[in-house]
Amino acid sequence: MGDQILAQYSRRMRFRKILDKVLPLILSVAVFIAVATVFSVLFTTIMTGWHRLSLNLILNYPSANPNEAGMRSAILGSIYTVGLSALICIPLSIATAIYLVEYSRGGRLASILSYNISNLAGVPSVIFGVVGLGFLAYWLGMGRTIITGAFTLAILILPLVTVTCVEALKTIPDDLRLGAYALGATTFQVVRRVVLPRALPMMLTGGILGISRALGEAAPILIVSGLLFIRDDPTSLFSRFTVIPLQLFNWVSRPQPAFIELSSAGIIVLLIILFALNGLTIALRQVLARRAEWA
């Protein structure tokens, strides 16, 4: 009787011992799948597209002939729209973060407003396109133009950038604020002279994060702008436009293999831009770390 229990116990112990050894392996397989997916996406894209990489791809307008086709208008469209959206979004995000962290200091109105920011973050990106089309393009009469696209993207990335800015402000120790307040500084002076200089690099990291997100967004721009074949440079903020991911979508939707290769090459260009931006945030973070050594 006792032996039986002991045998059962030792069998269970053996199982648990094996499980203890195997579990980290099982879990690391999950990590492996994720990492392998990243690499296989990158690998296949590069293998398919690298021989289509050329200056034509950047300098030429789109064309029905895959050997001549480029994405000049899309690149310019992306620069205009995303650049403008960053100019709109980053100041708004910084201002919002300053209000929430420095001015309201946890008031009731602020908690309602910040709840709405998290609600805005949950809105699917395609919805921003639909509303950009209905509200900005038609109701406000801004047309399906660069400026409509820029505002749409700006509001789309607003929650993401704002949250990083709030995080940035929260890393500043309260000691410094109190020290400044005790000398008779107003909230604005505390922000401008003490808090902002330290928080700005991390806020810019958030801005770059937003820019990366906006650069990769195809759906909202597809709705706002439509699928266009554009063969000239944008002349003003009220020009019709297309962006890099849309150009890629356009090429992907064509049956000829040459266009598939072209879209792979375009993806490589887009990914290079995104990785460069990512590198910039890492560099900023290092500046940040060096500053933190003082603290």
Partner: protein, 284 residues
């Protein structure tokens, strides 16, 4: 010379050392007066029924066990409690006869007239010079470069830091040692010419030598200011202060002043049993 017979109190301090700073004219004007002060955090009463006044050219120590509301009282005097959303203050605090909690008084003005030094040194992440100049700049003093330099220098001299930093005013404040940083914070507060200087356990994070320096600098500047220092180091209170207030939480953990008077009297002849227990180490 015959052997001098000295008497020691329970702390082992020589009686002659306690409150040894000559009491400035006892008719010194009263700069800050607190009447029936109560501070509530949310629904918890932190301190209640505080009545005390502080005189010019004197150092007043507020002592008591931790959690008795010493810092809360101190923060009520320059309206730093305004920065805590849950805190509400009732009662009156007069600064030169004006109730600082009345509607037409700007807390920013109060804070530029009543300086404050915190527990942990909190210099700003700028140069030594910019730290001291900070208050002058935010308060909109219109100064020439020379005037600014002189004010910064005066403040650093008063804070007994000038000799150590005069050759490296452009260095980052964080390159200073902890004790130097705290003196920098004192200089920063003095630069705006406050009337009152509040110190919230300014030496709690410092070594004994740095502590002694700060204590002696406080004694050297006390004639020009009204200094209020919170400490839970009783020896420090005995060494630097002219007056001492003893705070103690009651049964509901509400902080109250149980005794206030000349430091020498408090330490040699406490009237309240709890004071005696506290300074002899039985509570706290």
């Amino acid at each position: 010379m015959g052997v001098k017979i000295e008497s020691y109190n329970k702390l082992g301090l020589r009686y002659s050392e306690i409150g040894k700073n000559e009491m400035s004219e006892s008719s010194a004007p009263e700069v800050v007066r607190v009447e029936a002060l109560r501070v509530v955090y949310g629904s918890k009463i932190a301190i209640d029924d505080i009545n005390i006044s502080f005189k010019r050219s004197n150092i007043t120590a507020i002592i008591g066990p931790s959690g008795c509301g010493k810092s809360t009282l101190l923060r009520s005097i320059n309206r730093m409690n305004d920065l805590i959303p849950a805190a509400s203050v009732s009662g009156r605090v007069y600064f030169n006869g004006v109730d600082i909690y009345s509607k037409d008084v700007d807390p920013v003005y109060i804070r530029s007239r009543i300086g404050m030094v915190f527990q942990r040194p909190n210099p700003f992440p700028f140069s030594i010079f910019d730290n001291v100049a900070f208050g002058l700049r935010v308060n909109g003093f219109k100064l020439t470069k020379d005037e600014l330099y002189n004010k910064v220098k005066d403040a650093l001299v008063k804070a007994a830091l000038w000799d150590e930093v005069k050759d490296r005013l452009d260095n980052h404040a964080y390159s200073l040692s902890g004790g130097q940083q705290q003196r920098l914070c004192i200089a920063r507060a003095l630069a705006v010419d406050p009337e009152v200087l509040l110190l919230d356990e300014p030496t709690v994070s410092l070594d004994p030598i740095s502590t002694a320096r700060i204590e002696s600098l406080l004694r050297s500047i006390k004639d020009e200011y009204t200094i209020i220092i919170v400490t839970h180091n009783m020896l420090q209170a005995a060494r630097v202060s002219d007056y001492t207030a003893v705070m103690m939480p009651d049964d509901d953990m509400v902080g109250r002043i149980i005794e206030f008077g000349e430091t020498r009297g408090i330490f040699t002849n406490p009237r309240d049993k709890r004071t005696e227990d506290y300074i002899s180490g039985r509570i706290g």
